[in-house]
């Protein structure tokens, strides 16, 4: 009888240890990776933390941007079906955070694609935030101060929840900025929350591959460009 109880206990311990081993060994590292497309990374400032670039406005005012943080990260993403993890994968992120002379608060970021969506590029400057699907060439969310518009990601693609987003993104083969010809340029046109905009709300942003931010235009027409 005693031998039977001991055997049962031994079996129970073995079961618990097996489950624990499986739980520990099935960590995040086994999940499929969703890498960021290398071409998405080209929209960033291609320098190390501490490096700077300077932009001048029409009045000759220099605004120095300094790369303060450059962070890569990943996280688990997915959903559950009938108790089983389905479409579980690792989403990768990369961010650049800048300080500048006059507090523009520039931040650049990218989130790797999942499902049928492309990599999402994000930019924040002067309290305007955009999220852009790089494959679809679509602004998928806009955030200005406390107001927000965003499309939902569904199996059928993006759907607008309330109001459509009027801001646009276009990709140009090249652009001439202050006498410099930049190849592969992203042009963001801000067309939302017009009633809330001020003279110094940013209405246009230009980024170039390998350079990052190269120009922005305020609502009152003042242009600030890379030197």
């Amino acid at each position: 009888m005693n031998i039977m109880i001991s055997m049962n206990r031994l079996a129970s311990f073995a079961l618990v240890f097996s489950v624990l081993f499986l739980v520990i060994s099935c960590g995040d590292d086994d999940l499929p990776q969703n890498p960021i497309d290398p071409s998405s990374m080209e929209w960033f400032f291609q320098e190390n933390v501490g490096a700077n670039f300077i932009m001048h406005d029409d009045n000759g005012i220099a605004n120095e941007f300094i790369l303060e943080e450059s962070i890569g990260a990943n996280s688990q993403n997915g959903y559950q079906t009938n108790g089983l993890d389905a479409d579980l994968s690792k989403i990768n992120y990369y961010y650049q955070d800048f300080s500048d002379t006059y507090f523009s608060g520039l931040k650049l970021g990218v989130r790797s694609s999942y499902g049928s969506y492309g990599d999402t590029f994000t930019i924040s400057i002067n309290e305007v935030d955009f999220a852009i699907d790089l494959n679809e060439a679509l602004v998928t969310s806009v955030h200005f101060e406390s107001t927000y518009l965003a499309y939902s990601e569904t199996d059928e693609g993006y759907e607008n929840n309330e109001e459509p987003i009027y801001s646009t993104v276009t990709f140009l083969e090249n652009a001439l900025i202050d006498g410099v010809n930049y190849d592969e340029v992203m042009h963001i046109q801000y067309n939302d929350f017009i009633a809330s905009n001020t003279d110094y709300t940013i209405k246009e942003i230009y980024l170039a591959k390998q350079f990052g931010l190269i120009q922005y235009v305020y609502n009152n027409g003042v242009v600030c460009h890379r030197n």
């Binding site: 700077n52 406005d57 005012i61 220099a62 002379t101 006059y102 507090f103």
Partner: protein
Amino acid sequence: MSIMKKILLVITVSFLLTACPSPPCDIVDYGTISQEILDLLPYENQETYSFKNSGGLIVNFTCERYQEVGTFGCEDYGATGATSEHDTVKLDATYPEFHIDFETNKSIDEDDITHYIISGRIQYAQSFNIPTPNENYGYEQVSTVTINGNDYNDVYKIPTRNNNSNNTVYVDTIYYNTTKGILKLKMSNNEYYDINE
């Protein structure tokens, strides 16, 4: 002594220890800031102060000024603290976004001598001090400076301390007198902002 009595004694002593107030902090009153010192910062609450950028842009700074009384130094057990008045001046511009602030603090040393420190910051990253009757910090003083077509007397050239070593574009020198306050902000890249009168 029974165990119950010992427990009761421990509980009673613990209660008394926690219930006893800490000795009161001995607070010295430094009093208010003298008008002579307040006048060293010639800025008025709600007023606008105009500057002209080297590129011609007019930049208006709005002023917020207030005085507060605060007590400090009583954080430690049985400490001696002090109550004093603080004067705060904030100058803010929308474009380009500038933040300049001044803080005046008063103290009295053990020899009963009153000291004032007027500290300033620009963009939260460059710091400086405004000279007081007791302390001129060895700043260069120029008898007359012409700025934007006007002559200003007794002008201090105040170098800032840059607290962000990565910055290469920042206000490196302030021209200042006690009649008008800031007369010129000179940037490290030779841009400048002149008082616009």
